[in-house]
């Protein structure tokens, strides 16, 4: 049987499919519907040092082929995560990646240090420098290459886990922030987080979301995300985790071919909680049918023409 294992630098996954941060909570709610064993990894909801209340409602609105969310990183904070969520997650045997967000460099550093010491239940840390829904921190760290580099340099020494930096697509040139993260010590890049958007409620003549703007996810952004993965693949040497609107096997193949070594499924899970097990089975048959022994053989293939030449 075709082996779906993939290796992203220091991070080994048994399949290239993971649940994207914020769409799977801390794994608890979906656990009764899907077998987490089928997952390459679960990236848990963005974690902050202290509990966060989140943004005022409404927090969600559907848009054409997508949705805006403005959750505002509502989460119980590091302490509750370590005492309540982590032990439970450690029992299920899935690889857990913790998505962390801070308002200051120090908060990121503290989170990275504490989580690195949290035992062997964690597979990696993902620096969320791209949340469009919080006023301080978040996306601000992700839009300037130099600010991002400084943050990653500070986190790197205290982080003994594989370090993923999650890039924001709300930039002029994503290859610049990608290179900044790479050269300052990231092991892996994940992309993309959501695009900042707004829906106006015609009746009240006001922005619909309590937070006014929210982050756009779903199939609508897929062509933009694929293009960014393609561009970043050509600009850095470290492995990539691709995401943005993945619903079907074909969608995920686009990301692999563009250069992602693994992919994350986000908001499609809301519509179909079984997306990841389905994609896993479909990828296996695709690879077998096409004569590939590993998903790694198709990573980045869109960059070479039929005869193997660089384009």
């Amino acid at each position: 049987m075709t082996n779906l294992k993939v290796k992203l630098g220091p991070l080994e996954l048994k399949t290239p499919f993971m649940a994207a941060s914020g769409t799977f909570g801390f794994g608890e709610e979906y656990a009764s519907l899907v077998d987490l064993q089928d997952f390459g990894a679960v990236v848990v909801k963005g974690l902050t040092l202290k509990p966060r209340r989140g943004n005022p409602p409404p927090r969600i609105v559907e848009t054409p082929a997508g949705m805006l969310n403005a959750i505002g990183l509502q989460n119980p904070g590091l302490e509750v995560f370590l005492s309540r969520e982590l032990p439970r997650l450690q029992k299920s045997k899935v690889k857990v990646i913790v998505n962390i967000a801070g308002e200051t460099e120090e908060e990121y550093v503290t989170l990275a240090r504490e989580l690195s010491q949290a035992g062997d239940g964690l597979a990696a840390l993902e620096l969320n420098v791209s949340c469009p829904n919080v006023k301080k921190g978040g996306i601000l760290f992700g839009t300037s290459p130099s600010v991002l580099a400084s943050l990653v340099e500070k986190v790197r020494p205290v982080c003994s886990l594989p370090l993923i930096v999650k890039l924001t697509p709300n930039v002029t040139d994503i290859t610049e922030t990608a290179r900044a993260a790479e050269s300052s010590g990231a092991d892996i890049l994940s992309l993309v987080n959501t695009f900042r958007g707004m829906v106006i409620d015609i009746a009240s003549k006001r922005p619909f979301l309590g937070n006014k703007t929210g982050g756009l996810s779903g199939p609508a952004i897929r062509p933009l995300a694929v293009r960014m993965v393609y561009d970043v693949y050509a600009s850095v040497k470290i492995p990539l985790i691709g995401m943005g609107g993945i619903c079907t096997l074909e969608d995920s193949l686009q990301f692999f071919m563009a250069g992602a070594s693994a992919v994350a499924v986000g908001s499609a899970i809301f519509s179909d909680p079984l997306t990841i097990p389905r994609l896993t089975a479909e990828l296996r048959s695709y690879l077998e049918k096409e004569g590939f022994r590993s998903p790694e053989e198709i990573v980045g293939t869109a960059h070479t023409s039929g005869n193997g030449e660089e384009l």
Partner: protein, 262 residues
């Protein structure tokens, strides 16, 4: 909670832009309680992108059937209204915490506005079956939009109708009708309500002033429907001055009226 494909047994327009949809799904039929809802995937092709939540309006556990009432509202309900008998539709459910029936004593007054009537039909039936006295107050803007509730209710439930244009029953808002009755003879042990935000807000004020305990079924935009995304937040009182955001889908949709920050 299960994820399952339910088969369409019947679909019928029972009032203007209001549909009755009867589904076959054994587990859902067996396990659902009044106030709980199902999260339906309208199509298999991710268009519309999100699922749609609908209250369970009734069950026939012995036949493995359950039904909902839905109102044409946007793209999703439009597609749903064209589903045909025999087709299947993915449902997640039963979701949320239903109405709390343990503490209810005395007359149960059920107040529904528009499509908010759906969970109250299930509730009325359940209360009746446990020998409770039930009075239903139901309002819509016009007679044509009132679904024929008697058809869906057991005998013995008192029904009071209101329409904004007076084309059927009391002329005015259903909350006004209820309030006028409360001035006089009506002495509810508890009120159960579901409907538009404005209706719920007026009712909350009435209940507070009259000190009548009340349970409200709330609506909020949902993504996951099962508690994972924190999308469906409502502000809920947590002590004197503090409030927290709770999830309509998992911590609700039913909340005590005095808990909700309007």
């Amino acid at each position: 909670m299960i994820s399952s494909r339910a088969r369409v047994v019947e679909i019928e327009e029972v009032a203007e832009r209001c549909f009755y949809l009867l589904l076959e799904e054994k587990t859902l039929a067996a396990k659902s309680c009044p106030g709980q809802f199902i999260h339906m995937r309208i199509t298999d092709n991710f268009f519309p992108f999100l699922r749609r939540p609908f209250s369970i309006a009734g069950t026939f556990p012995e036949k493995g059937l359950l039904w909902i009432i839905f109102r044409l509202s946007g793209a999703g309900t439009k597609i749903l209204s064209r589903i045909r008998r025999g087709e299947e539709i993915e449902c997640l459910g039963p979701l949320g915490n239903g109405f709390n029936l343990r503490k209810s004593t005395g007359l149960a007054v059920l107040l529904g506005g528009g499509a908010g009537i759906a969970p109250l039909l299930f509730l009325a039936k359940t209360l009746q079956e446990s020998q409770k006295q039930v009075a239903l107050y139901y309002g819509a803007s016009r007679a044509a939009e009132l679904i024929p509730v008697q058809q869906f209710l057991p005998r013995g439930v008192e029904v009071n109708l209101a329409t904004e244009d007076g084309s059927c029953g009391f002329k005015g808002l259903v909350t006004d009708l209820l309030e006028s009755r409360l001035q006089k003879e009506l002495l509810p042990g508890e009120i159960f309500a579901c409907g538009p935000r404005k209706m719920m807000q007026s009712l909350a004020i009435i209940c507070r002033s009259k000190k009548i305990p009340a349970q409200f079924s709330l609506e909020e935009r949902m993504a996951c429907g099962i508690g994972a995304c924190q999308g469906c937040a409502v502000e809920i009182k947590a002590g004197e001055k503090r409030t927290v955001f709770k999830r309509v889908c998992r911590d609700g949709p039913v909340f005590d009226s005095c808990e909700v920050v309007w």
